[in-house]
Symmetry: C2
C-alpha cells in the first residue's frame, strides 16, 4: 500500500507538493500537478484518511443511532438527514442499537474517540444526565424521540397535539367510546400521545375509562392482541386510536377476524403514516410526521453545532398532519 512518501519519491517532489495536489491548494505548477497525478495513478495511491483526520482533527462523518433498521418509520428521516449532510460534504453512517443501551454506548464511543464529528439520536436509551454530559462535550442532537430534561437540542413534533387531533377526529364523526392502544415504556412520545387522547376526551365531556386502554409494543402482533382485548369487553369501543400504524393495522385485523367491518363497526386511527398505511385494507387514517423534514432539520442543527455557530433555539417543533383515509370514513 503506497503512502504519500512513496508518491513524492517516485515523482521526485516533496510530500508537501503531493499533499497540495491532493487537496487542490494553490501554488502548484501545471506540469508538477500533472506529474504528481500520473504518479498517484501509477502507484494506485489512496490517501490514508486516518493521517489527515488526525492532523485536521475532523472526520466529516456523522453517526445516526437507530433503535432498529426494520422500523419503516426511520427510512425517510435518514434520507432527509443524509441529503443535508451530503450537501455539506459530510458522510453519514447508521448504527443499529436494537434499543440496547450497551450497543448505544458502544457507538457513542466512536464519537468520544473522535472517529466521528457528530451524532444524531433517533431514540436515546441512556438517561438524561449521561445525555446532557455527552452533549456538553460533543455535537449531538435528538430527532423525533427524545429524553425529557436532557439539555440536548431536539427536533420533534407536538405528539400531544397530534394525538389530540386524531381523537378529536374520531369524536367529530360521532364516536364516544374510543379505545387506546398505547405502549408501556418511558418514551416521551408515548406519554404525550396518551395525554392528547385524554385531553380530547375531556374537552368533549367524555369520561376516561381505563378499561379502554390496552398496551402493545408497536408491532403488528401486539396490535392484534390489544385489538382483540378491546373488542371482547362488554360495551366495546366503536373506535380505536393506536400510537403506531403497525398496531392499528393489527387492530384492524382483529376486527376483521371477528367479522366486524372497518370503519362501519369500528373506526381505527394510527400514528406515523408508514408506507404500508396506505396499502392495507382499508387504508389507514393516521398522523403523518414530516419525516424527511425532521431528518433535514436535525442534520442542519447538528452541522451548525459542529461548525460552532451559536444556535438560537435548542428545540424545533415541526407540524404534523392528520391523513384521513377509509379506516375512519368510508367514501
Amino acid at each position: 500500500m503506497s503512502t504519500i512518501q512513496d508518491v513524492a519519491k517516485a515523482a521526485g517532489v516533496s510530500v508537501a507538493t503531493v499533499s497540495r495536489v491532493i487537496n487542490n491548494s494553490r501554488s502548484v505548477s501545471a506540469e508538477t500537478r500533472e506529474l504528481v497525478l500520473e504518479t498517484i495513478k501509477k502507484l494506485n495511491y489512496q490517501p490514508n484518511l486516518l493521517g489527515r483526520n488526525l492532523r485536521r482533527a475532523e472526520t466529516r462523518l456523522i453517526l445516526i443511532l437507530l433503535p432498529s433498521i426494520s422500523n419503516p418509520f426511520y427510512a425517510k428521516l435518514v434520507k432527509g438527514a443524509e441529503d443535508v449532510a451530503h450537501k455539506n460534504g459530510y458522510n453519514v453512517m447508521l448504527c443499529n442499537t436494537d434499543s440496547d443501551i450497551n450497543r448505544e454506548r458502544m457507538y457513542l464511543e466512536h464519537l468520544k474517540n473522535r472517529l466521528a464529528d457528530g451524532l444524531i439520536f433517533m431514540s436515546p436509551e441512556i438517561d438524561k444526565d449521561e445525555l446532557t454530559s455527552i452533549s456538553k462535550r460533543f455535537p449531538v442532537v435528538q430527532c423525533s424521540e427524545y429524553k425529557e430534561g436532557a439539555d440536548v437540542p431536539r427536533i420533534r413534533i407536538d405528539n400531544m397535539a397530534a394525538a389530540y387531533k386524531a381523537v378529536k377526529h374520531l369524536i367529530g364523526i360521532g364516536h364516544r367510546r374510543i379505545g387506546l392502544i398505547s405502549a408501556k415504556n418511558e418514551y416521551v412520545s408515548t406519554k404525550q400521545r396518551e395525554l392528547g387522547y385524554r385531553k380530547a376526551l375531556e374537552d368533549s365531556g367524555i369520561d376516561f375509562d381505563s378499561a379502554l386502554v390496552k398496551y402493545g409494543n408497536y408491532g403488528f402482533r401486539s396490535g392484534l392482541r390489544a385489538g382483540n382485548q378491546l373488542l371482547s369487553i362488554d360495551n366495546r369501543p366503536t373506535a380505536i386510536f393506536a400510537i403506531s400504524d403497525s398496531m392499528a393495522i393489527g387492530a384492524i385485523r382483529a376486527a376483521k377476524e371477528r367479522g366486524l367491518k372497518v370503519p362501519a363497526d369500528i373506526a381505527v386511527v394510527g400514528f406515523d403514516d408508514i408506507s404500508f398505511a396506505s396499502m392495507c385494507e382499508p387504508p389507514l387514517t393516521t398522523i403523518s410526521q414530516p419525516k424527511y423534514d425532521l431528518g433535514c432539520a436535525a442534520m442542519e442543527m447538528l452541522l451548525a453545532q459542529i461548525q460552532g455557530k451559536p444556535f438560537e433555539t435548542d428545540e424545533i417543533v415541526l407540524e404534523h398532519e392528520l391523513i384521513i383515509r377509509q379506516s375512519t370514513i368510508d367514501c
Copy 2:
C-alpha cells in the same frame, strides 16, 4: 480535550505507561495503574482512536452497504452480521446507498482510505471488474445479491432452485397457467428466479407463455399493477409467482379488488418471507431465505479475510425453504 500527554504529565509518568494502562499490557505496577486510571477519570480523558488506528493500521470497523434501509429484508441479515462482528471485537456501521452507484462509491472510499477494515455488499451496483479490482486490494464479500463474474467471495442461496420449488408447488396443487411477476434489472437473483420458473414449467410439460410475465420494481404498488395486468388478460392465470413478497401482496390486492378469492380463484407465492408475509390476508406462501445465517456467514468470511486466513471456498450456498401458507392452500 485532553491527550495522553496531558494524562502522563498530570500523573507524573511517561506516555508509554499511560498507553500500557489503557491497553492492559503487562508490566505496570498496581499503584501506577491505579494512579493513571484516576488521572484519566479526573481529566475526563478519552483516547483519540485516530492516533491508535493510524499506528496500528486497523480500525476494527466493518461497513455494510445496503441498497435501502426501508427494505425489511435486510434487517435480519444485518443482525446476523452484527452478532458475529461483535463477538469478534468489531463494530459495524450501515451505509445506505439508495442503489446509487455514486453513493456506493462514496462509501467505498472509506474502505480504500483505511477508515474501515472490511466491507459487505448486500447488492453491489458497481460492475464486476471494479468489484474484482477492489476485492484484490481490500477485504470484501457479497451477501445475498451478487455480481456474476466478479472474483469476490459471496454468500447466497440457490435462487433458481428456490423459484423452481415455488412454481413446482403451484403445479403440484393443480395449476397449469401460472403468471410470473419479475423485475427488469440486471440482478443475478432475478435472472435465476426467472430461470427456475421456466424450468419448473418445462419439467412439467407446460409451455412458456410470455403473456404471463409482467414486471415490477419489488414494491407493493408495482405488484398491484402487474397483478391487474395479469388478471385482465383472456384466459387469465390461476396462480401467480412473484419474485418479491411486496409484489405478491400487491397481486393479492389486485385479485381482491376484482372480487377474486385467494387462493380459491387465484393462488399467489412470494419470495423472501418478510415479516409482513405472515401478517397479510391471506398469509403468504413464500420462499424463506436463512437471512440471519446469511449475514453470519458473510461476516465470518469477511473476518477470515481480514485476519489473513486462507479460505477454502469463495462461494457459500445456504438452504432456502418453501413456507406454505393460505395464499396457495386453504386449510
